[in-house]
């Protein structure tokens, strides 16, 4: 099957997906709601205490919202991507998937459509969350245009990586219910990294985990880019994580989708 077919079929599936999302926006709305509530909670309720603690412990200069925003943006990314997981799991229970399999359609077009649709939606919801953070007082004082472009690029790469991972989780899950539970682990990870508070101030065992898990270098890179502070090796670590997760998520999804379909009898 040629590349043009692959692209045309994926585009058709993307249209199908966006139409689903537009017709049933409840999921998309809840995805934006979560991170915004977190932002309000950590900034508005715990902000003074956490901010004071962080400056005392690490010497981080600046407002707590400047520290918090990159972490919250990352949560917007994780919760947005994980919608793909539920959407894929729900879709796999639909008879129309079996129909696609009996047609001369590019094999993973339906998955490409889900991931592409998820990437577009998550990019939009992430931008919205960032805009709300700016409205609440987030300022990137020293970031250059190049820093911003780098931040956007990293976020997009991460969204692609996590969307493929979520796609795999959705295919792997036993059904829509478990598909909505498994990704919670992914969504929880930023908290055990440097999203809300720096790992240096965590208990030793958690600190060890926090320093080596993928989200910490990504949050640190994002924080560096958005605040215009040096990024260092975290950038390369982040890119490596994103590339690895994309490859893993894509290959895993493709393999799971190639299995004998459900409804076996």
């Amino acid at each position: 099957m040629s590349t043009t077919h692959a692209l045309a079929d994926s585009a058709t599936m993307l249209r199908r997906n966006l139409r689903h999302a537009r017709r049933y926006p409840a999921m998309t709305i809840s995805v934006i709601f979560g991170p915004v509530l977190m932002l309000l909670l950590f900034f508005g309720v715990f902000g003074n205490t956490l901010g004071a603690g962080i400056s005392a412990g690490t010497g981080f200069k600046g407002d707590y919202i400047d520290y918090l925003t990159p972490g919250i943006v990352l949560m917007a990314v994780t919760s947005g991507c994980m919608v793909v997981s539920v959407a894929v799991a729900v879709d796999m229970t639909e008879g129309v998937i079996a129909r696609f399999r009996t047609m001369a359609v590019f094999r993973t077009a339906v998955l490409n459509g889900h991931v592409a649709g998820g990437v577009l939606q998550t990019a939009a919801s992430t931008a919205l969350v960032l805009a709300i953070a700016v409205a609440l007082g987030f300022r990137s004082h020293d970031a250059t245009l190049l820093d911003w472009l780098g931040a956007i690029g990293l976020l997009l790469f991460l969204i692609v990586a996590l969307s493929w991972l979520a796609c795999g989780l959705g295919l792997w899950s036993k059904g829509p219910e478990s598909a909505s539970n498994t990704p919670l682990i992914v969504q929880f990870l930023p908290f055990l990294g440097s999203a809300v508070v720096p790992p240096e101030q965590m208990p030793a065992s958690i600190r060890w985990f926090a320093e080596y898990q993928p989200f910490t270098p990504i949050i640190e890179t994002l924080r560096g880019l958005l605040l215009g502070t040096p990024v260092g090796n975290d950038a390369w670590t982040s890119l490596a994580w994103c590339a690895g997760l994309t490859a893993l998520g894509y290959l895993w999804s493709r393999r799971l989708f190639a299995r004998d379909p459900k409804h076996a009898s």
Binding site: A98, R99, T102, A104
Partner: protein, 315 residues
């Protein structure tokens, strides 16, 4: 296809085998279905009908055996097979979140018909399947019969040459069932090949050129509906009598007959042609016995089916 010599069979299979775990579902299935004919695979629930369809439509792979559909191998040339077939499965294969028209346009896009042609084809099928009024409503809100019609319409978007219908009328009310039969007959008139599975004998009888009875993973009988009906006994003349005395006298005249003392009937097995019937009446007259009523029972596919599957159950 202008210069091809004799048309190859639309569907050809030999020795198809499939197990799910330890459970043997298909134990060597052979099929030979000429192009342009209607073939019905008949069998009770769990006989393996759907598994045959799933193998022939490239959804799953057989463990053994070979199958060609539209001249292409189902495993090695799956995409060529997919391009030639249309499948309406047992489970509704419509996208419930999309409207009827969007579903059809989705199919048109996947068949790469182009924007204008795809829309024209969608509207043509909406009209043909009496779905114009519901075209703008999500398919999830459709009734069972409407969903089935949309499903079949989606199958036809790409003008497939071989159409698989897996239990197309299961769960439909009698009126929708008759409408579906008419639709299938109209399709046959356009020259396509139809592979149908059903658990309704009447359906196979009315629609199919050839019927295969599948039971326990094997084809236990195959032929035209008439051949199958002729192959099993089941025809009889049913005589009803006014009282036990007449019944007793008649039973003495027909040694092989089954008598029912409560209903006062006697079931005389055999041919139900005019000559045979005359013979039965002559015998009655000869014995001086009067019957109050008489009815004929011609064997149906039901008798074939029960005869074939009960021998197996007895084993």
């Amino acid at each position: 296809m202008a210069t091809t010599p004799p048309a190859p069979p639309a569907i050809e299979a030999s020795g198809l085998r499939k197990s799910f775990g330890d459970h043997l579902v298909l134990d060597g299935i052979d099929l030979h279905i000429p192009a342009g004919s209607v073939f019905a695979l008949l069998g009770p629930n769990g006989a393996g009908k759907t598994t045959v369809v799933r193998i022939l439509t490239t959804l799953i792979r057989a463990d053994g055996g070979r199958a060609r559909v539209a001249g292409h191998l189902v495993d090695a040339e799956a995409d060529a097979v997919r391009a030639a077939i249309g499948v309406t499965g047992q489970y509704s294969a419509v996208d419930g979140l999309l409207t009827g028209r969007e579903n059809l346009i989705l199919m048109a896009d996947l068949h790469r018909l182009g924007r204008a042609e795809g829309r024209a084809r969608a509207d043509e099928l909406l009209a043909a399947f009496d779905l114009r009024d519901a075209a703008g409503k999500p398919a999830a809100t459709y009734s069972g019969g409407m969903k089935r019609r949309l499903d079949l319409a989606m199958t036809l978007v790409g003008r497939p040459g071989v159409i698989f219908l897996d239990e197309p009328t299961t769960g439909l009310d009698p009126r929708s069932r008759r409408a579906m039969w008419q639709t299938i007959r109209d399709l046959v008139a356009t020259g396509v090949t139809i592979f149908l599975t059903t658990q309704y004998l009447e359906e196979a009888d009315r629609l199919a050129d050839r019927v295969a009875v599948l039971d326990g993973g094997r084809v236990i009988a195959e032929g035209t509906p008439d051949e199958l009906k002729r192959s099993v006994p089941g025809g009889h003349v049913l005589l009803t009598f006014a009282g036990p005395a007449d019944l007793g006298a008649a039973a003495a005249l027909f040694p092989g007959a089954a008598r029912d003392d409560e209903a006062l009937t006697l079931q005389v097995p055999g041919d139900t042609g005019v000559d045979a019937l005359r013979g039965v009446l002559d015998t009655l007259d000869g014995g001086g016995v009067k019957a109050t009523a008489l009815s004929l029972h011609t064997p149906g596919l039901d008798d074939v089916f029960l005869a074939l599957t009960s021998t197996k159950a007895a084993r």
